[in-house]
């Protein structure tokens, strides 16, 4: 190994730091340390001549480890690392620390102590520099093809966007026809146009942008080159990794050949079997061979295998002019390779039959909003007439019931967000065409939060829709008059009402689509407490998951209206493009690595990894070891904190580096308060420490900071070692408990700290010597406060005294 030559660069930030830190003292201290060959002082080192000094030191004086004390370390780090790499130094050999915000500013009232702490910080970096190892860049292939799961509004939009950009797209729909729940809705708010309207492909709108949306049947979607639509299909297996997935699809038999069918309807005419049409709310019958509506894609009939008699009948086979009916079709398994996956599986209506007091399923005239939508559709079962399903007579009185199964602790806590608007839209549609129909809406709160949404409410009122604030307690049925009675307390008028009505419309909750759980398991992505797919970050990454290469859009993450679904579809498509566009994935090998010699196959780490980056690999007949995927690993170190054999380490932050920093930073004291080691994460926790300095918050110099990639990296041993090496207390400063940048890290360390406290008690050490603090950037003052409070607490507890014998 080449000899260590450590170059240290101290920025006095335009001399402002010299008023606090004794630079001469620090420099002579550094020069005494063996292996430190260059010590430079300047006003700034991340640009201009300062940066040139670093480059020169690397090139001419052959410095092979660089430590720079700069303000705004993250910003300057990027520039310094870039320059150092260009000069031939590995990125990991550069450390940038923040003497200004972590030392000078918060300790400006005690310059002598601050100088000693600065020395301790620099010594810690020097000790770490000695054992750093190079980090290399990795490259992985990325196929320019995308799987879109779900052929509703979001899936279609995303698929189109991607296909237009030249990506190969596979659009998978579980049902025999595209459209999803949106297509059944008939019309959308706030545009009041057809649900079956989609954006036209680029090829169709080269110049005339105002015709850029079309009915699905005339959109030419099937003709877009590069877009392959698989209906009646499901994903059954996903293998491989981001950029290169191998997907196994199962296509259920349609029994009608898609290339031969000409939609002449002869088959349906001769078919002797009639069953209730569930697509049309069971308000009409359909044949065993059918198409849902004429304007849908694909224009190919399908046989319902539950009701068809197949070879016993064969009438459709005989009549088909193109020999398209193939009764012996079998499920087909096929595989495709894609680089990314977009999940657009949407949501569904909650089944309100569990809510006994509303008697859905029992009283035929209690229906859901989606069922009403079918009635309102000109293609629907009643041709747009509003009837009582029980006797087919026109409905003259209608009562909507809002929040059915939502905002109700018994069923679903959340607000489904779109049901108010759906009911308003339906009420307006009814009132416009049939002004004589009496329409009432029983609501808890009307939520019209989008642009132009409130206008719907106003319009409904103008049209004479009655609003009753109250959740109905019971729906009963008078068999003699065939009338429903809705019991509701109008809480504004404080009156109990018994509303007689012909039809009750339940505005049911929207819940995750079937198979969401199964698909989540196949894709190894998370679902939230309500069962929807969980996005990586609701604020900034709403269409990404924690798995690189898997994206979300539309109602799959939560019930959404069409504009939001559409927006998300475009976003997901863009994210997929961003991910795959260059045809390769380049990343630093800042990853965990398992030492196979020591891995004991306990199988704890794969469970703790938030990225599913650890798999178990058989190395011989008897032995299985954990292996980390360099592509999937995000370098948080949660596995390091988990391994009971300490057989895992982070390439960019080895445990030995943490240990040497711990020892060094506690080895120089220079003050008389109890030493505290504050482990902070590199994200929110670290940012709050930075901002404590930026906001000039004071805290004492006994608080020493060591940054770790994520608090989930930390093990109980790290706390005990800090105590053993002179820390009287340990602070762990991380993100908010639901805001960890690595999902689980902060929760992991919280549990480990809890275990550590249990242990400390056994060791005769006060458990409050190790504490967790959750902070964010804007809470720098909170960090300073916590540091002061911890110091005060430790002073009260008195010093820890270890036996000399030990």
């Amino acid at each position: 190994m080449e000899n260590l030559k450590i170059g240290v660069f101290l920025s006095d930030c335009g001399k402002v730091l010299t008023k606090i830190l004794d630079f001469d003292n620090i420099i002579s201290f550094l020069k005494e340390i063996p292996d430190v060959t260059v010590v430079e002082r300047g006003t700034e080192f991340w640009k201009g001549s300062g940066l040139q000094t670093i480059v020169k030191t690397i090139k001419e004086q052959k410095a092979n480890r660089i430590i720079v004390a700069e303000s705004l370390p993250k910003l300057s780090e990027i520039k310094i690392v870039e320059a150092a790499e260009a000069a031939g130094l590995n990125q990991n050999f550069v450390q940038v620390i923040d003497l200004k915000n972590h030392c000078a500013w918060p300790h400006r009232n005690v310059p002598k102590e601050a100088t000693e702490k600065a020395k301790a910080m620099l010594l810690a970096s020097v000790e770490r520099a000695k054992i750093l190892e190079p980090i290399h860049k990795l490259e992985f292939p990325a196929l320019k093809s995308v799987l879109v799961i779900g052929g509703g509004i979001s899936g279609i939009q995303a698929a189109e966007d991607l296909a237009d950009l030249g990506f190969e797209v596979h659009l998978i729909e579980k049902a025999p026809f595209l459209g999803g729940i949106a297509a059944r809705a008939g019309r959308f708010f706030p545009t009041d146009d057809c649900a079956a309207c989609i954006q036209s492909p680029t090829s169709d709108v080269k110049t005339i942008t105002h015709t850029s949306r079309k009915c699905i049947y005339r959109s030419g979607i099937a003709a877009i080159s590069g877009l392959k639509i698989h209906t009646n299909s499901q994903v059954i297996k996903v293998e491989g990794q981001p950029g290169n997935y191998r997907i196994t699809l199962e296509k259920k038999p349609r029994y009608v050949n898609e290339t031969k069918c000409i939609s002449c309807n002869l088959c349906s005419e001769v078919c002797p079997i009639e069953v209730p049409d569930e697509y049309n709310a069971n308000l009409m019958n359909r044949k065993a061979i059918y198409a849902i509506v004429p304007n849908i894609y694909p224009p190919t009939y399908v046989i319902d295998e539950q009701s068809c008699k197949f070879h016993e009948c064969e009438k459709c086979v005989q009549v088909c002019p193109t020999k398209a009916v193939e009764l012996d079709q079998k499920p087909e398994i096929s595989t495709i390779n894609v680089g990314a996956i977009i999940v657009a599986t949407g949501f569904k209506e909650y089944d309100p039959s569990v809510i006994k007091e509303y008697h859905y399923g029992e009283y035929h005239d209690v229906i859901t909003n989606l069922e009403l939508a079918r009635m309102l559709d000109a293609f629907g079962p009643t041709g747009g007439r509003i009837i009582r399903p029980s006797d087919g007579k026109p409905a003259r009185r209608i009562v909507f019931v809002q929040c059915v199964g939502s905002r109700d602790k018994r069923w679903n806590d959340y607000c489904s967000s779109i049901c108010c608007m759906i009911s308003l839209k339906h009420a307006i549609m009814i009132k416009t065409v049939f002004p004589e129909i009496d329409v009432s809406i029983c609501y808890i709160d009307i939520r019209t939060t989008g642009r132009e949404h409130e206008e719907y409410y106003e319009k409904a009122r103008e049209l004479g829709v009655k609003f009753i604030k109250g959740r109905p307690t019971e729906i009963s049925h008078d068999p003699e008059s065939n009338v429903l009675i809705v019991d509701v307390e109008d809480s504004l008028l404080r009156r109990f009402l018994e509303l007689e009505t012909d039809l009750v419309i339940l505005a049911t909750a929207m819940v995750p689509s079937e198979d969401t759980q199964t698909l989540a398991e196949i894709l190894k992505i998370d679902i939230d407490k309500d069962g929807f797919f969980k996005e990586y970050n609701a604020k900034l990454r709403p269409t990404e998951t924690k798995m690189r290469g898997i994206f979300l859009c539309g109602g799959a993450t939560f019930p959404k209206d069409a504009p939001s679904s559409s927006l998300q579809a475009h976003s997901a498509a863009l994210k997929a493009v961003k991910f795959l566009n260059t045809g390769k994935i380049v990343k630093d090998q800042r990853t965990a690595v398992v030492n196979e010699e020591y891995c004991g196959d306990c199988e704890f780490c794969p469970v703790s990894c938030p990225y599913n980056a650890i798999e178990l690999v058989k190395i011989d007949e008897k032995h299985v070891v954990a292996k980390v995927s360099d592509l999937l690993c995000e370098g948080c170190g949660i596995c390091i904190g988990t391994c009971p054999l300490n057989a895992i380490d982070l390439r960019h932050f080895k445990q030995s580096e943490l240990l040497s920093q711990t020892k060094a930073i506690l080895s120089i004291n220079g003050q008389d308060k109890p030493l505290i080691l504050a482990f902070c994460c590199s994200e929110c926790g670290g940012a709050s420490v930075d901002s404590a300095g930026m906001t000039m918050s004071n805290y004492p110099t006994n608080v020493r900071i060591v940054k770790v990639p994520c608090t989930g990296y930390l093990r109980i041993e790290h706390f005990l070692t800090a105590i053993k090496n002179g820390a009287q207390g340990v602070m762990v400063v991380g993100c908010m408990s639901d805001g960890c940048h690595h999902e689980e890290g902060i929760k992991m360390v919280e549990k480990r700290i809890d275990a550590a406290k249990t242990l400390l008690k056994e060791y005769g050490i006060e458990p409050e010597r190790v504490e967790l603090f959750n902070t964010i950037f804007v809470e720098g003052d909170k960090f300073a406060e916590a540091a002061c409070a911890m110091t005060g607490r430790l002073e009260k507890l008195g010093p820890l005294r270890f036996s000399k014998e030990v």
Partner: protein
């Protein structure tokens, strides 16, 4: 060629390690034929002065079992270190302090008080404690000093190799003899036990690792197939060095950790707690564990990071 000289010694231990040496069965005959046993208090009558008289480094291999509980243990450790070319910490007491080391939850004073005054079978109205020096017939006799803290061998002398276990697994002992006799010594500081954990040798099936409760073995109906952790029972296997062939697990008893910490681990109990805390459904799960030190540090308290309960 001269036969290698072998010494075996016991300090603060139960004697089980001595039996384990004999458990290698007929292999002991090969060993006996291949070496000269120059010191073995359990079998040969040798005095301190005989050892002191030996030239330095004249013993080729010394197997030292037992922890350092008192000054005599330490004195013998130092003497044997001086006389031996290779010193091997043999058994859990010498390697990690073992059950003897659990005394580190107390100190000399509290142990003496308990043993010589408080135990129900003791009648000691004059509160007489063992003394370091005692006069008998005008002659002053010296007794070893009882320490506050139990230490593993490596805390008082430089140790070349380790064979942990309570007692060490017979196969590993036989293997160690074989390595030694064939002069294929591994790098200094190595263990003669495998580098893996007990899980590696355990036939039980690991499941989802979602631990929501910690139970004691009598509280479950063991299905005899599933990993104990997946049944909510503490098993030290994941944090314990292999070599035993998971023999306890094979008779449906969870591992208690006698193999000591893994090769990379500095603290067996903390290492196990990390893993369980990480997958535990609830932060409070671990507080259900009865007697945390006795459970997670049964064999390694004296060799843990903090080594003992700190004194007031």
């Amino acid at each position: 060629m001269q036969k290698p000289k072998l010494a075996l010694y016991w300090s603060a231990s139960c004697g089980g390690c001595e039996i384990a040496v004999l458990d290698v069965n007929e292999k002991i005959l090969d060993v006996a034929a291949a070496v000269d046993i120059v010191f073995w208090p359990v079998a040969l009558d040798t005095k301190y002065k005989n050892i002191q008289a030996m030239p330095d480094k004249s013993i080729d291999f010394c197997f030292f079992n037992g922890a350092i509980r008192n000054s005599e243990n330490e004195k013998m450790a130092k003497l044997l270190r001086q006389k031996s070319k290779i010193l091997i910490a043999f058994g859990s007491c010498a390697c990690d302090g073992c059950v003897v080391g659990l005394a580190n939850l107390w100190n000399k004073e509290s142990i003496f008080k308990r043993v010589y005054i408080e135990t129900p079978s003791t009648i000691n109205p004059a509160s007489i404690f063992p003394q370091n020096k005692v006069k008998v017939n005008d002659k002053e006799l010296e007794l070893p000093v009882f320490y506050d803290t139990v230490k593993p061998l490596s805390h008082v002398v430089d140790v070349d190799y380790f064979i942990s276990g309570c007692p060490p697994p017979v196969a590993c002992i036989a293997n160690a003899f074989e390595i030694i006799l064939n002069n294929k010594l591994p790098p200094k500081g190595s263990s003669f036990l495998p580098n893996k954990s007990v899980c590696d040798e355990c036939p039980r099936e690991k499941k989802d690792r979602k631990i929501s409760n910690i139970k004691r073995i009598y509280e479950i109906e063991d299905d005899k197939i599933t990993c104990f952790w997946d049944q909510g029972v503490v098993c030290m296997g994941p944090a314990t060095r292999a070599g035993c062939g998971a023999q306890c697990l094979k008779v449906n008893v969870p591992c208690t950790g006698c193999g000591g910490p893994g090769p990379q681990s500095s603290d067996q109990g903390a290492a196990m707690l990390n893993a369980v805390a990480s997958v535990a459904a609830d932060p409070k799960v671990l507080s259900q564990a009865a007697d945390p030190v006795g459970t997670f540090y049964k064999y390694s308290l004296a060799n843990s990071i903090l080594r003992r309960k700190i004194k007031e």
